[in-house]
């Protein structure tokens, strides 16, 4: 698995979303000051613990042209809670402010080298990977967060500054891969 490295270019994809549309990464980037790609899912408690903060991040920077897309690549056969139908329900219940995409083939997760949910990849306007890792440093308690890594990365991109913490360890469940044939 070839994990993206800081400085790599945005791998393109086109995936269906829970809102009935399809989204292409390059088109989103062309409309963005920064693009946040989050590998996520429904069932993982780390995602559940963080998803309001992810939603907040998307809302907070939308007016400044930052776009966020979430991608669920989990095997829905083994984890039915991560099916596309359940994704639709989840996006409605949580009023996601971002497209929630389904990577049924898992090709996109493989192309990014994503391993966990949640795991963030943040690209600058040029499509260069500028941050990779966790949303922040405390899944359990938002009030105890010392380093809001993703927010700091977005702020740095918008200000055209260097990202201080460009890479952190993603913390969460492993992506649930389909059985190899």
């Amino acid at each position: 698995m070839a994990k993206l490295k800081i400085g790599d270019n945005l791998p393109n994809f086109t995936l269906p979303a829970t809102d009935g549309n399809s989204y292409e990464a390059q088109t989103l980037l062309d409309q963005s000051a920064a693009l946040i790609v989050v590998f996520t899912c429904n069932h993982c408690p780390y995602v559940v613990a963080w998803e309001d903060r992810i939603n907040h991040l998307a809302r907070r920077y939308a007016e400044q042209g930052v776009k966020l897309v979430a991608i669920n690549s989990n095997d829905a056969v083994k984890y039915p809670a991560d099916s596309f139908e359940k994704m639709i329900l989840r996006s409605q219940q949580k009023e996601f402010s971002f497209p929630y995409l389904h990577d049924a083939s898992q090709h996109v997760a493989h192309s990014y080298g994503a391993e966990r949910t949640p795991e963030l990849f943040i690209f600058d306007r040029a499509g260069t990977l500028t941050y990779h890792g966790a949303l922040d440093d405390n899944y359990d308690d938002e009030k105890a967060v010392k380093h809001p890594y993703a927010q700091q990365a977005v702020e740095a991109i918008l200000a055209q500054h260097e990202v201080v913490f460009a890479e952190t360890a993603p913390v969460g469940c492993t992506i649930k891969w389909k059985p190899t044939k």
Binding site: P45, V48, A49, D140, G172
Partner: protein
Amino acid sequence: MPKIEFLYFADCPSHDRALALLRQALTEEGLNPAAVTIIEIKTEAEAEEYQFYGSPTIRVNGLDIAPLPPDISEPGLSCRGYQKADGRISPLPPLELMVQALRKANAVQ
């Protein structure tokens, strides 16, 4: 001394913090913090054998300290969420749940 079991799946990162909290709970209740049987679940077969529904799982005298989340229906190598007092879900079991389970076990002995 109640029988304390701590079961975990290494891919779920909260197990270290959860075990530290469990030892804290044991200390606060005047029990030996080292008296924990730690079981690492590595395979689906072991998950089935131990009726392991997610990491971390803590049992006091064989009883789980919390009800299973409604979306978990069968044993497996999953991470597990716990509801906190304020309703939020966390991968970290709350200290209060551990303390309650220990007190309940002590009360019936």
